[in-house]
Amino acid sequence: MEIVLSAVGVIALILVVLGMGVWVFSGLAIVALLSLIMIGDVSIDRAGAILSRIIFRAGNSWELAAIPLFILMGELIFRSNISDRLFRGLEPWTRHIPGGILHTNVFGCAMFAAVSGSSAATTATVGKITTNELKVRGYDRQLSIGSLAGAGSLGLLIPPSIVMIVYGVQAEVSITKLFMSGVLPGLLVAALYTGYLMTRALMDPSIAPKETGTTVTKLQSLGLLFPVILLITIVMGAIYTGIATPSEAAAVGVLATLVLLLVERQLNVEIFREALVGSLLSSTMVCSILITAALLSTAMGYLHLPAELATYIASLDLSPAWLLLALALFYVLLGLFLDGISITVMSLPITLPIVIQAGFDPLWFGVFLVIMVELGQITPPVGFNLFVLQGLTGEKIGKVAKASFPFFVLMCVAALLLCIFPDIALWLPNALG
């Protein structure tokens, strides 16, 4: 019971500190400190030694580098006419689909997920291009924010994926196979989102206004879509031919965007400077929260909280189905206040043996875990996609969270389908070898 009290204590601290209006990045650091001292009984000197070291370690991270670069790519595209051409080019293709270009969020994220390994980068880059445009065109705000929050987390499910690499190393599961097993579940989630958007649009056509303005033919639209398709092809090509590693892909993306804009005479010093300012502001916001979230997960580690919760689940000796349900609840609970990588690293030493003991395939469990981690990205109080969208749209976190809720439910449906039909994940890696 003591663990549950600690967990409740930490969540209460987060709600109070963030609720009082302290910036999220400093609020998480404060909660980490208070948790260590008040719940963990750590002396103030030890807490200082712990947190100051972790703050440097978490910031000093090669994996974070993709974030400023992908955001820069989004800023450059946003400041050119490429984003406008993208929407006009999509119009003739989506005109007959209920929901219209609202689907750009889902398709855009699914495509961008294939070049980016993190969900924060996916949400920020696609969001930079779509949120404003969809608002100007009069699409339903709730749906455009929610679908972006939900689809942005595809960044982790569709390869490449940072969380899958972390899981693969920890669980000694082939990363290549893990990447393959994420593809179909990723497409399944995207399909569920698309289906939901269509249903909503059929029920209430006003959420997606009739596109006005000059329409183009499908042939002409290809010309308009060409720049974005070219950029994604170049970045994917660089990764899948081995020229660049997934962590380096963002740099290739920025270079390709710069060259494209130069060729099209859309680049000047002023635009580049503005894009840099925008990229600094967004990446400082995202990276600082990721860094102080690492302080919070370190504090949780010292409280032994994830480990003891997992041990408790192990002690219940549940049947496989109930075990999965208990684990799902456990991961959703951790997802409320921890980030994906921390959740993976801190829980696996205990959950993985239980899961294997119960007869689940570790490859399959990797995909299940990624979906659980994705759920945490869109739940308050600490949800990275929510933070990114709050920064992008200026909407209140409560509104962003509420808009994301249907997509949270759909992701749960995807997890349920994955449990009933494990082959959604396992078919592709088995078929390919």
Partner: protein
Amino acid sequence: AQFDFSNEYNTNSIHAQGDQFFIEKVKELSNSKVDITLHSGGALGYKSADHFYAVADNAVQIADTLAGSMAGIDPIFLLSSLPFLVEGEDQAELLYKIAKPYYAEIFEDNDQILLYASPWPASGIWSKEKVDSATSLEGLKIRSYDKNGTLTLREAGAAPVNLSWADVVPQLSTGGIEAVLTSADAGASGSFWEHLDNYSAIQYAIPLNMVHMNRDEFESLSDDERAAVMEAAKLTDEHNWQTVRMRVKDNYQELAEHSVAIHSELPAPFMQHLQESAQPALAEWLEDAGERGEAILAEFNKEK
């Protein structure tokens, strides 16, 4: 007493299993009075490079640290990862016993005690094509794990690259790199056989991890508890040196099951070429380590 123990490696790694062995021994010998929690996989947020001062400042009480990652604190820590210095586990154990007082002194000077060592299985070359000659090494794009490996491989004519461990498998699958310098063990845990079919057991080095503890925390224990910790450390040291020998056998069997060709009888000219390539790295280390380095090597050469 309750302690936290930080470790960067996954639960099935030889290091985490050795640490778990230590924790159980401590528990047993202290009648459950000393309770240690292992945080494997870097779950507390520390990397090996953070451990030395994290333990000195008592941010964490015990840590399992790659010796090479402390080379920037004292060059003596590079000793165990020097290329081609030891031939096999017996010599590696001997070298450790000779150097142990020097290691212990540095920990002592920084408010810590050295508990035990945890050796890695010997590192070799995982590759697509068989690597058994200077020619086959020529221009080979190979991932090395530390400074000495980079210097030695470059000297030997290969093209060593610097990649984070997370990028290794994606780069192997796309052909960005053709080979990896690491142990059979690490390669097995990363399922390297999906991309690479050869393992050349060049016995490059048997690097050590060291497990160290904050001294104030140690001294705050009762006499019996301290004795229990020291006895458990001694047992774990012995246990680890035995395990590493068995681990290599198990790894080779696993490799064979996945049809990886193991090349352990390598031509003498090739080995000589590698050893010569390691000379600059050795010379540089001797210069950095000074008299202590010479004293250790002199004794090692006498006794081996």
